[in-house]
Amino acid sequence: MTNPRQALATIRGLRKSFPGENKPALSDVDLDVLPGLVTGLVGPDGAGKTTLLRLLAGLLVPTRGELSVLGLNPTHDSDALRDSIGYMPQKFGLYEDLSVMENLALYADLKGLVGERRRTTFDRLLAFTDLARFTDRLAGRLSGGMKQKLGLACTLLGTPKVLLLDEPGVGVDPVSRRELWRMVHELIAGGIAVVWSTAYLDEAEACDHVVLLNEGEILFAGAPAELHDRVRNRVFLLSDLEERPRIALKNARRDPASMDGVVQGRGVRLIARPDAELHPQDFGVSSAATLRPTRPRFEDGFIDLLGGVPSAESELANAISEHPHDDAIVIRTQQLTKKYGDFKAADEISVSVKRGEVFGLLGPNGAGKSTTFKMLCGLVSPTSGDAQVAGVNLRSSRSEARQRLGYMAQKFSLYGNLSVRQNMEFFGGAYALAGKRLKSAIERMVHVFELAPLMRRAAGDLPLGHKQRLALACALLHGPEILFLDEPTSGVDPLTRREFWTHINGVVERGVTVLVTTHFMDEAEYCDRIGLISRGKMIATGTPDDLKAKATTPEQPDPTMEEAFIALVTEAA
């Protein structure tokens, strides 16, 4: 280990297939994990990140190829490598019914850490993670950020040289996430190697070396800046728009010179095809609009690697009935509060949403956004306060309100063993559609979401992108006025995400109101307005640009959504 550039783990020609699956989980993977660096394993859900980490930890056996960690084979020498590899699985591998100290002691004993060394290690790790005050608290009662730190502390017992962290950033608020990065940087300064897997593309930018995985294959390996270089001078921000950015996006994407576009605040972020030029006048946008180059993001490079996003327009707008564009307030809450025992999950939330608006509830897990969300769709009854949804008071007539809402739950909530058609028939029936109305509603959705070839397949066997389409179709069957989306795109690849938002924009054009929760900071950009929720309270509301403006300081002239979030949360606390 005298040479700091000598790889601590190497992978050559690795392939991993699981029985019963026709596509290998990983194929042709080459990787060098270098000491003193954070190697980012980046990709959407199902890309093969966890499989790769488990192979490195010796928990899976490769189908083909070579794998070595510290010169040893993790498959055969797992006992010898036990103390040198620190592996933190998703959910951190903690026992929720044991206290912080009991968890630490368990893993210390398993790693044979005893005596004086154990005491000093505990002291050091408790100080490092700032958990010394909570040693008696059950792990299940810790916040997401604290759990993550405890998980890391348990992984750091012994003296690992290679640290494998599986999605440590999930379910953790941006403030804690930032703190974890600081800790990881301290660790690599000591010469160990860290492999950090993530589905958040923005996290990739913080890594020294990035491996971008998609469907089991490496799309890119190198420094994040190299990926930026691919799209350098091709990323633009279209701003000073007179029309809604959604409309401008639709028009701009009609230009074949554009390969990708997303709404960003009051503007539109566009990527030009290589050797193509973008001219606002070609888009049919208002003449005042300006097009300025902007800093590329990791995701832009990813999209470029995938060859851009096909320009697709949602036919949804033609398939659903028009709601009046009257700017009426369709969701209004007053001091909406939900208590569980002494705990205020939602504390006097007051918000109003206009028709045809996309309103985002943004906040870390456990902040209260899900509780607020569930109160608004009538799934949870508030302890106090009032909520009016689509002109109906939720306290008095919840079921009437529900008929006017469409709801797409977090995670996949369709029946996996029913066919696509059966799922649609069931959900249509649940919203009291029957006979001809049900049939024509299904036909419309099948047409819009191109589900016709899939109608007989079991919903559970569909690829993620199709599952999402189906879930959205089911939520829209009964023509709701308001659409509730609970973390609709977490862990989804950028292409699927684009497609999803194309549909949402199509719905909004017809005057449907959309309420969405997310902990994806960049997703917040798609919203017209955002409510920031932290510790049960709505700490700020406004357009994405408003919130960024509130967080702008001389040191931080152009904050990202995440930076704005951190600034506003810190300020509120």
Binding site: F18, R54, A57, G58, L59, L60, V61, S78, D79, R82, I85, Y87, M88, P89, Q90, K91, F92, G93, L94, Y95, E96, D97, L98, E102, A105, L106, Y107, D109, L110, K111, G112, V114, C154
Partner: protein, 377 residues
Amino acid sequence: MTDLSLRLRRLWTLCRKETLQIIRDPSTLLIAFIFPGILLFIFGAGINLDSSTVTLGVVLEDTRPQAISLAESLANSPTFRVKTGFDAKQMGDELRAGRVRGFLIVRNDFSERALRQSPGTPSLLLITDGSEPNTASFVAAHVRGAIAVWQREELRRLGRQPTGIDVETRSWFNPSTESRNFLLPGSISIVMTVVGALLTALVIAREWERGTMEALLAAGITRFELLASKVLPYFVLGLISFVICVGLTRYAFGVPFRGSFGAVMLVGALFLGSALGLGLLLSTVLRSQFNAAQAALNAAFLPALMLSGFVFEISSMPPIIRAVTHVVPARYFVVAIQTVFQAGDVWSVLIPAFEGLGLAAVGFLGFTYLKTRRRLE
């Protein structure tokens, strides 16, 4: 520290962790300590296989003193409440309506034939309800007995020698033939199955579901450590529960106990071994708490109830089912515990039962060991 003491320390810390989890999960304690009490109460006080008084119809086509005397003799029996009638068809309707459990027709030539022993077929006809075979045979046996008693008395009264062989029956081991005395010890098999198999069916699957198994495997836990840390705490929990059951049966329900403490603990310990083994096997193979619990219910609980011989006698089962009962550990447990309670330490019965239980325990635990993987696939 030596290698061995380090290993013992690992095992100890894993057992400690498991115990803490048991203590902090109220549902586990509920199943282990409260559930046995409730179940024993149901079997001890609620379910009773002894038939109490049944209503018997008597149709008197013959109304001479002999026939009346027979009817009175039946009415005096503690087993029957007698409903007298004179029309067989009417009484048939009573049986159909379930108001009588059977009826005896006393033919009009009964008096002559019964006592003067004139030739010809017997003149009594007993109708029973065949849709309830237990009650039917119960009624038939008791009616026959009552008639025999009456016949002897009648002959004696007339100064003649009673004829035929008199069989006196006496029940050993459960002299009062109270069903509770064999039901309660047998029902402990249900409690042990639930505590042993159902609780352990959840524990390994829980580690998989919560993602802690990955962390344990990455920390280099061995197969033996994994299994031992699951078996030992639940073994102790199960034994405590077993002692509670035996104590309740003996002292709260007053079931006579003729064996030794050592023998009964051996029975419990061996059976727990097989129940824990089955639970762990299901948990290891299925890796999902829901599936493992479902499977434990079907693979452990139902056989313990249906095929152990504790409710349904094995000797009256069809040969195929009887063969199947040999692989049901609860069968050996029921034999052993009923023996210890009602007959004492009869080693000629206990040893084969111990062999069956021991084999099942070793089999299930051994198979679990083979099925335990130190990898995720």
